[in-house]
């Protein structure tokens, strides 16, 4: 069991342009009206990097920037964990298409954009940060896997962590093998001690048990629940409503990850 403090939230998804809107939706103060969002501008990147960056990275950076902006830290003061199940589908598609052609000519930019830690690399360039960064994957358990990694770093390094989870729909024909219908990115700044703007204290426990998880928030319309990153929302719903209950995140066979906002003031 580990306790970490939540010092900032950022998110972006259909009808959820930022945490403020999402918070109102999750509190039942506003209807969720899923609408396509414009492509995030990745404004924190230098212009030459911005031209080359993949869409999934734009989404990840948008959430990350919002969360850090809302926290009491600067972008170059936090270590990072980037959690994505599937990375960048467009990049994968173009690479596989090129590799199936007789010439097999691969774009060098596409190749470096294909690494699972692409978003982390661009973030560290944009933030001018030399802090540690881990990128990981847990398939449908990706958000929980990212949370346990970030929380254990907060706990054992006493460091401020930025956790970013994101996934975007795959283009065809890959969509058929991984049907994530909606894009979503979320970012949490997690810290070892409460700060003036702290939103919650989360107790995180891993224990033996079935993989059954808590329900997805009913206030959210559309097909967000098939996006692994959106499984941060059951936890964020508790935080938005200032409720002290436990949520079970989608995790692994035989293992449960339980997060419980607890009193800290």
């Amino acid at each position: 069991m580990t306790e970490v403090f939540l010092d900032g939230v950022g998110l972006i998804g259909p009808g959820l342009p930022d945490w403020r809107t999402a918070r109102e939706v999750l509190r039942g103060e506003r209807e969720h009206e899923p609408a396509r969002l414009p492509r995030p501008d990745a404004g924190m990147l230098p212009a030459n990097e911005r031209r080359r960056v993949a869409n999934s990275v734009r989404w990840a950076l948008a959430a990350a920037q919002e969360a850090v902006g809302a926290s009491s830290y600067r972008a170059d003061e936090v270590a990072t964990v980037f959690a994505t199940s599937d990375g960048d589908g467009e990049t994968l598609h173009h690479l596989c298409e090129a590799l199936a052609s007789p010439q097999r000519e691969v774009s060098p930019t596409r190749f470096h954009n294909s690494v699972h830690n692409a978003a982390a690399g661009y973030w560290s360039i944009a933030a001018g940060s030399r802090h540690p960064s881990t990128s990981l994957c847990g398939y449908d358990a990706t958000f929980a896997a990212g949370l346990i990694e970030a929380a254990s770093q907060v706990w054992s390094e006493r460091a401020a962590m930025l956790l970013v989870a994101y996934d975007l729909p795959f283009p065809p024909p890959l969509y058929a093998v991984r049907p994530i219908a909606e894009p979503f990115a979320v970012a949490l700044v997690l810290v070892p001690e409460p700060r003036p703007g702290t939103l919650a204290c989360c107790r995180i426990t891993a224990r033996r048990g079935s993989s059954a998880c808590s329900p997805f928030p009913a206030a959210l319309r559309g097909a967000l629940a098939c996006n692994p990153a959106a499984w941060s929302l059951p936890l964020l719903a508790l935080i938005a409503r200032e409720r002290r209950e436990a949520v079970r995140l989608p995790y692994l066979d035989g293992c449960q990850l339980i997060v419980e906002p607890v009193a800290w003031r």
């Binding site: 470096h112 994957c137 254990s152």
Partner: protein, 374 residues
């Protein structure tokens, strides 16, 4: 592995992977084509998971994990595996068989169990019948060094009592042609730190380590320190002075509570690209001067990418146990502009502490300090 190190036997050969059109050398594991994963875990069958299974079956590892399972319980052991490309080769092959009219992929592509980055960690967890937390860490070529740091923290934070860490990366077209597109592939066996070095040789490998709490184990190898950093500089080129590398190495020393002169051997990342070896040398020379023997073992294994960290951690452990400093295979003329003490041939030498470096695309750096427990 150790015999090959002692006898200077390289595992590299001219590229004969799949339909070889690229003129380069590779480190290919024989026989994977003919050993499918079948039975209970059959849906995980792909080159990467075949390689993982082969690795798990070596050196009594499965037995050691079974004993740990008895000791701690399956749910108290984590699985953290580094990989850069997992089973992407299955998707590469599926793209050759798309439906001509609809563009659809063949229905037998099992994305979750092959290409998805988590596939290999999922496979290892199920194969070893473990039920603790798990993840696949994918930070390009530092992936399977990072797993040591993450596992250490999971144990520190008491999420688990032990962890299976490892790295598995297998040959695929993405990395062969990708590194080719960046003009980073050597046309001959890679020559780390050579004046005429011209790039990497890609290898494949699976390596696993069981990490437990350090309250016992005299004569065992211990993870004494780790350091992690980002360059914040460029996606595919290292910081020229190795600024991030220096940070990772300094943190690893600091965590281990060791001064630079307590390190007896440095296993370099040493990929044999001009830029990597230069940047790594610059960073190390500022910390260690020219006193500590350094070498790259990629002339034996090739660059095993997401498996490089654990491969070289295991090599470092073997060297600690056998008091051996390996040389730098294939290298003929040491680059005179490199200032660290790079050794070309192996030497018998008692070792207390070894540093192992791994760096990846996106400017992701990780250094480990290993030592023998007294």
């Amino acid at each position: 592995m150790f015999a090959a190190l002692r006898e200077s036997r390289s595992g590299l050969r001219p590229n004969d992977f799949e339909t070889p059109a690229l003129e380069t050398w590779i480190g290919r594991v024989d026989g994977l084509e003919h050993e499918p994963v079948t039975g209970r875990l059959g849906e995980f069958d792909c080159r990467n998971n075949r390689l993982a299974r082969l690795g798990l079956r070596q050196d009594g590892f499965e037995d050691a994990v079974a004993q740990a399972r008895e000791r701690y319980g399956a749910h108290r052991i984590a699985v953290l595996i580094g990989t850069s490309t997992s089973g992407v080769h299955e998707t590469e092959l599926a793209y050759r068989q798309r439906d001509r009219s609809t563009g659809a992929l063949p229905p037998d592509l099992r994305y979750r169990h092959s290409q998805n980055i988590f596939s290999v960690a999922d496979f290892v967890r199920r194969y070893l019948e473990l039920e603790g937390p798990a993840a696949a860490i994918s930070t390009a070529c530092s992936s399977s060094a990072k797993v040591f740091a993450s596992a250490h923290r999971l144990i520190e934070a008491a999420f688990v009592d032990a962890a299976v860490v490892g790295g598995v990366d297998s040959l695929c077209l993405t990395t062969l042609y990708g590194f080719g597109s960046l003009e980073l592939l050597s046309r001959e066996p890679c020559r780390p730190c050579d004046a005429a070095r011209d790039g990497i040789s890609i290898g494949e490998a699976a390596g696993f380590v069981l990490l437990e709490r350090a309250d016992s184990g005299a004569g065992k190898i211990a993870l004494l320190g780790y350091g992690e950093s980002s360059d914040g500089y460029h996606m595919s080129a290292p910081h020229p002075e190795g600024a991030g590398v220096r940070l990772a190495v300094m943190q690893a020393l600091c965590r281990a509570g060791l001064a630079p002169d307590a390190i007896d051997y440095i296993n370099l990342h040493g990929t044999a690209t001009p830029a990597n070896d230069r940047a790594e040398d610059a960073a190390l020379h500022r910390i260690f001067g020219a006193a500590i023997p350094c070498s790259s073992t990629k002339g034996w294994t090739g660059h095993t990418l997401g498996a490089a960290g654990v491969t070289e951690a295991i090599i470092s452990a073997l060297c600690l146990e056998r008091s051996w400093v390996p040389g730098t295979l294939n290298t003929r003329t040491l680059d005179p502009s490199l200032r660290s003490r790079i050794v070309l041939s192996g030497e018998q030498h008692p070792l207390r502490h070894v540093l192992s470096n791994s760096f990846g695309f996106g400017g992701n750096n990780c250094s480990l300090v290993l030592g023998m427990r007294a």
